[in-house]
Structures are given as structure tokens and as C-alpha cells.
């Protein structure tokens, strides 16, 4: 359990990520009648793994409703409703399905405020879940946040824990711009201390999760959790990794990362996505542009540069995991010593594997 704010207000309690998402939305829907939630399956009994549970009962069918399978039009509808002054939250059970709405997201949502000379605003949240494990395979596993980071006018956020899930959700809903909200399926059951009252985790602020002098490790979304586990494996052999959660990918808080890198002289970015033109490339580039006078060793980890295979043997190879991350860090920090984490300890560090059916 990683809890960024355990010493906060009295009202904090342990909450699961999935419930924190729900609570953030419910808080805002109470506060602001313009907020509404729609998307495939938001009102059925599975309720997007529980993340929309009870919202329709609480807020009515006008504010929480299912849709036909028409992602492209539904995204346009969200944009139109937002221009008209509402604040839609459009939910996708898989991030892969955003490929059906790219035209609306890239050509309209991101550009409307600018190309209409500031005369309209598009306050909308696009929730999307990254799937993983248990053979979900090629089209139910993609982390495609980099595609959105590339486009000016979109904000992108990928909270790694329940606290941020709620705080980022509220910030995203209150934001006057389109926000791509990236959730990871495996984070849903993870718990953290979360304030009961509404609060925001604002764009543009990364968080230093652990202090360390040997290397800066940036973990995106679920990979932040894996990096924290790697951090523990490394601590046992005396390597101190400074683990940073960027939280918001656009706008990106490069300063916090830079400050850390200036101290450690080493950087590993671990993303829940492909590395090529990915968030990891962006982070490395910005650091490289700023730190050239000081030698900084930099590396990236992410999905293997392949389509995601379902066979468990191959899936295991496809993803970074705590053992691989720890080994890589060790190799960077102490290249002269060959080391791999103990298999059993590494296994313990693993995230609980999801077991189907889902």
C-alpha cells in the first residue's frame, strides 16, 4: 500500500482506488449540477468495476446514463455538451477504445478553445482504463497516453494511488479543458488514505515518493507501484532510489524531476506504455536538454516494442516488473557488480496477479 498523504486531515480513511474514483465524481456531482457521467456500461450492475456504482441511483438517469456503442459520436456529444456549459465525464472501459474517438479528441476537443479564439471552453473528462494480465492481449492492454501528450490543448493525468485518483478526478472535473484520465485496472483494488472531503491534486505537480541519492526513478501510473516495490528490493542492497510520480503527464512537472536528477545524476523512467515517442522519451529529452553539462545516465523501460501477447509466458516478458526494474537500476548504479533480486523476495514484491474471469 502506497499512501501519499497519510498524515493529512482527520477525515482520512483507507479507500480503494476504485472507490476513490467514485467518490471524487460523486463529490463533484453533488457540488455542481452541470457534471454528468455517461458511457457504455456506466449504469449496469458491474458499474465499470464499481467505479460508477450507485451514481445513477443518487443522481438520476439524466445525469448518469448508458450509451449506444458509438464512441466517435459520443465524444462529439461530450464536446457539444461541454461547449453548452455542462461538464461531461465520458467513460471508456478500455483505453484502446479511445482510438475510435481520436478525431473528436485531437481535431476538436483539444483545439476548440484555441481555434475559436477563446470563445468556447471544453471542460470534459475522458476516463479510460488500461487493462493488464490474464490474457487480455493486443487490444485490451494499451497505455496510449503519449498519443494525447503529443497534442496541445489536452491535459493528461495518470494517478497511481487512491488518494490521487480522487484528487485528480476532482481537479480534472473542475478543469476548463479536456482531460484524458488514465486509470490502471490493477490499481483499482489498491488502497490509500484519502480525505473524505473534496480536494484536488492539481495539474503540473509531481511528487517525490521516496528520497534517494543514487538514482531518480520516474514511474508512470501502475508502474509507479512497481517502482516502489523495486525501491524496496534495492534498499536491501543499499541502493537508494528517489522514486517520483509525475501524476500529471500534461502539463508535466519536469522541474521536480530535474531537481532530483541534478542530485542523483541518474535517471530511469518506467512507463506503462511503449517507449518510442512515449512519456518516457519526453521526460528523458527534457532532462537531456537541461543537464548536458553534467553527465547523467538515462534509461527507459516500458512495454516491449511488440503487440501485447496473451500467453502468460510472453505476457511476463512484455511488461516491466519490480525485479526487472530493480535489476536495471542496479546495473545503472553499480555496473561493475552483477546482481539480480532474489527470486522469492521479488515474487513477494509483485503485485497481486489479477485472476480471471473478469
Amino acid at each position: 500500500m502506497y499512501s501519499p498523504d497519510k498524515n493529512g486531515s482527520d477525515s482520512q480513511r483507507l479507500l480503494r482506488y476504485v472507490d476513490a474514483l467514485r467518490e471524487g465524481v460523486a463529490n463533484e456531482m453533488e457540488r455542481d449540477p452541470r457534471v454528468f457521467v455517461f458511457g457504455l456500461d456506466v449504469d449496469d450492475h458491474k458499474a465499470i468495476q464499481g467505479s460508477t456504482r450507485g451514481l445513477q441511483q443518487q443522481f438520476g438517469r439524466d445525469r448518469v446514463f448508458n450509451t449506444p456503442l458509438s464512441e466517435d459520436a459520443m465524444t462529439g456529444i461530450a464536446i457539444g455538451a461541454a461547449i453548452a456549459g455542462l461538464r461531461p465525464i465520458h467513460v471508456h472501459i478500455r483505453m484502446d477504445f479511445l482510438m475510435l474517438c481520436m478525431n473528436q479528441l485531437v481535431n476538436m476537443a483539444s483545439k476548440a478553445h484555441y481555434m475559436y479564439g477563446g470563445t468556447v471552453r471544453v471542460p470534459m473528462v475522458v476516463r479510460s482504463m488500461i487493462g493488464k494480465s490474464w490474457g487480455q492481449g493486443a487490444q485490451h492492454s494499451q497505455g496510449l497516453h503519449a498519443l494525447f501528450m503529443h497534442i496541445p490543448g489536452l491535459k493528461v493525468v495518470a494517478p497511481s494511488n487512491a488518494h490521487d485518483a480522487k484528487g485528480c478526478m476532482i481537479a480534472a472535473i473542475r478543469d476548463d479543458n479536456p482531460v484524458i484520465f488514465v486509470e490502471h485496472r490493477l490499481l483499482y483494488p489498491t488502497e490509500a488514505f484519502v480525505p473524505e472531503e473534496p480536494f484536488t491534486v492539481e495539474p503540473g505537480h509531481a511528487r517525490v515518493c521516496t528520497q534517494g541519492r543514487d538514482i531518480t526513478v520516474v514511474g508512470v501510473s501502475n508502474m509507479l507501484v512497481e517502482c516502489l516495490r523495486a525501491h524496496e528490493l534495492l534498499a536491501e542492497v543499499g541502493i537508494q532510489a528517489e522514486v517520483i510520480d509525475p501524476i500529471w503527464l500534461a502539463p508535466l512537472d519536469i522541474d521536480t524531476i530535474l531537481q532530483s536528477v541534478r542530485k542523483t545524476g541518474r535517471l530511469l523512467v518506467v512507463d506503462n506504455a511503449w517507449t518510442n515517442c512515449g512519456a518516457s522519451a519526453e521526460i528523458i529529452s527534457r532532462v537531456a536538454e537541461q543537464t548536458w553539462q553534467q553527465p547523467v545516465q538515462m534509461a527507459r523501460m516500458g512495454f516491449a516494442p511488440t503487440t501485447c501477447p496473451p500467453s502468460p509466458v510472453l505476457e511476463q516478458e512484455f511488461y516491466p516488473n519490480p525485479a526487472k526494474i530493480a535489476a536495471r537500476v542496479h546495473q545503472i548504479v553499480q555496473p561493475e557488480v552483477s546482481w539480480e533480486p532474489d527470486k522469492e523476495r521479488a515474487a513477494l514484491a509483485y503485485q497481486l496477479q489479477f485472476r480471471g474471469p473478469f
Binding site: G76, A84, M115, G117, G118, P123, D175
Partner: protein, 320 residues
């Protein structure tokens, strides 16, 4: 249920038809000077559709159009100076020089921003209607689009959703039989568009002669039903004809993809001339003079307006 449709005011109708025709002719006149650095898609010949449909609208009704939207912008009462200034790329433009001809907008007159990507604005219009339905004040949205847009899947997704939620949307297809230079026969398996739309439970009408009064009447009836919340979306397919080239200002009858005879047939039925002909000559010429003045002032305004400050490049990326 009999619906009271207000009487036609031929002067108003003519004023708008004439304004659009003349404004676009002026754009064509200025264009070779290279002062308008923006790809223009003229509606000369197609004015009747926008004017007929917008005539029964309230000021707080909403219209949504395409990159070929000078006409609907003016028909809905959009700011003419801001239109010309936008074409000139000036800071006083309706999108402050950040839109151009293909991205006109005037939210003060409830003219939604237009798009250069065909079909893209249709669901956005529907989304606006979601908000209007909730608001419950009888406002409606008109979504204009071309025949080409009905080939994009998003059109069908939009029809289904609008019908399912009984949204106050009037869909208006301006069928000029062309997508750029490609004739409809190469793009549509059949001509049964209205029949298809009806399978969504959406009433659909066709106007094949571009008669502005017929268009106005059909639009007015459909809108009246929506205002009361009695009826859901409706659809009108209007045959029409683009007199100039797809983009730019030429008459392109020598390019070989269509014949001037066709043009002449449509010109014989020119709604601008026909409605003008219904007015008494004095009234008519005073309207025409007023239109000329308005256009001249708009052009002067555009000419004299400043370009945006280069720093404006980086404003409006994010709101708030």
C-alpha cells in the same frame, strides 16, 4: 396539432439572401489580392438552405455548420465585421485570427464553431442539444452538413442517439451532389437517404427545387414541434447547387467534371433573384443599398483592424 408558423417577411428573407450572395461575391473579388489568406468554400447558389432554415429560428437557437459556413453564419445573424476580419486573419476576427474561414464561430449569436473535418460537427450539435433539452426552454439546434457528411459513420451514430433521446435537433443536409469533384453516384449506393433516416423514427423531408419558402415552412414546422417538447429530431434534405469551385472562388466549369448547362438550370431558379422579384422595386433597392453598406463597412473594418500580436500565438491553448 396545427402549428402556427409566423408569416413570411419577404424583406427579411431577401435581405439575408442578398447579404450572403453579395458578401461572398465580395470575398471572391478580394481573394486574388491575397489579403484573405484562408481557403474559402463559398455557398453562392446554396443560400436558400441556410436562409430558409434560419428564418424561423429564435436568436437563442443554435446552429452548427461546416467549413462551408459563411452562409449559415450570416443567416443566423453572425457578426459580419468579425467574419471579414477573420478571413483577413485579424485580431478582431470572430476567432481572433485563430480560426480562419473554416472555423467561423459566434457564440453571442449561438453559432457553433465550424470544422474542416467533414461530419465532425454533427455530434457536437447533438451534444449541445443534450444541454438544451435539460434546460427545457424550447431552444433548438440546427445541424447543417453536406451530402458527403452522410457517408461518415458518425452521422448514423448521431441520428441514433438524437432519436433515442428525442433531442431538439433539426438535421439539414445540403445535397449539392458533389463532394469536392466526386459525384454522388460514386459515393452513395442509393439515393434513399430520407427513407434511411426515417428508420430511426426521425421524420424526414426532401426539397428538390431549393425553394426557400418550402424549406422555411418545413423547418418552421419541425422546430415548432421541438419547442413544445412534443417531437424529437427532424431531418430535411435540400437539393442545391454550388455555383463556384469547391474551394476558392473560380467558376470551374471548364475543369470538366460538370457542365455549365447544369449551372444555367439552377440559375434559372435562383432564389435570391426570385425572392427579390417579389418585393417592390423601391423596397428592394433600399435593402440592396443597406446590404452594400454593411458589407463595405465590414471590409473596411477588416482592412483597418490590426493583426494579432505575435504573442497571441500562445494564448488560448488552455482555458482558465
Amino acid at each position: 396539432m396545427s402549428i402556427a408558423i409566423p408569416q413570411v417577411d419577404y424583406r427579411l428573407l431577401y435581405r439575408k439572401l442578398r447579404l450572403i450572395r453579395r458578401a461572398e461575391e465580395e470575398i471572391a473579388r478580394i481573394y486574388p489580392s491575397d489579403k484573405i489568406k484562408s481557403p474559402v468554400h463559398l455557398s453562392i447558389g446554396q443560400e436558400a438552405v441556410s436562409v430558409g432554415v434560419c428564418d424561423p429560428l429564435r436568436p437563442d437557437d443554435v446552429v452548427s455548420g461546416t467549413y462551408r459556413s459563411h452562409a449559415s453564419y450570416m443567416a443566423k445573424g453572425g457578426n459580419l465585421r468579425a467574419l471579414f476580419a477573420e478571413l483577413y486573419g485579424k485580431d478582431t476576427g470572430c476567432a481572433r485570427g485563430k480560426g480562419g474561414s473554416m472555423h467561423l464561430v459566434d457564440m453571442n449569436h449561438y453559432i457553433l464553431g465550424t470544422s474542416a473535418v467533414v461530419g465532425t460537427t454533427i455530434p457536437i450539435a447533438i451534444g449541445y442539444a443534450v444541454a438544451l433539452k435539460r434546460e427545457g426552454n424550447g431552444r433548438v439546434v440546427v445541424a447543417f452538413f453536406g451530402d458527403g457528411a452522410t457517408e461518415e459513420g458518425v452521422f448514423y451514430e448521431s441520428l441514433n442517439f438524437a432519436a433515442l433521446h428525442r433531442l431538439p435537433v433539426l438535421f439539414v443536409c445540403e445535397n449539392n451532389f458533389l463532394a469536392i469533384h466526386t459525384p454522388i453516384e460514386k459515393r452513395w449506393a442509393t439515393r434513399q437517404l430520407c427513407e434511411r433516416v426515417r428508420t430511426y423514427g426521425i421524420p424526414a423531408h426532401q426539397v428538390t427545387d431549393s425553394d426557400v419558402l418550402k424549406i422555411r415552412q418545413l423547418a418552421a414546422e419541425a422546430i415548432a414541434g421541438m419547442r413544445t417538447g412534443q417531437s424529437g429530431p427532424a431531418f430535411i434534405e435540400c437539393y442545391t447547387y454550388r455555383w463556384r469551385e469547391h474551394v476558392g472562388t473560380r467558376e470551374d466549369y471548364d475543369d470538366g467534371y460538370r457542365s455549365r448547362d447544369e449551372l444555367l438550370r439552377w440559375q434559372a431558379n435562383d432564389q435570391v433573384a426570385l425572392i427579390g422579384g417579389r418585393l417592390d422595386p423601391g423596397e428592394r433597392s433600399s435593402i440592396e443599398a443597406a446590404v452594400e453598406r454593411e458589407i463595405a463597412q465590414a471590409i473596411e473594418f477588416a482592412e483597418n483592424s490590426p493583426f494579432p500580436d505575435p504573442k497571441e500565438l500562445s494564448t488560448n491553448v488552455f482555458a482558465g
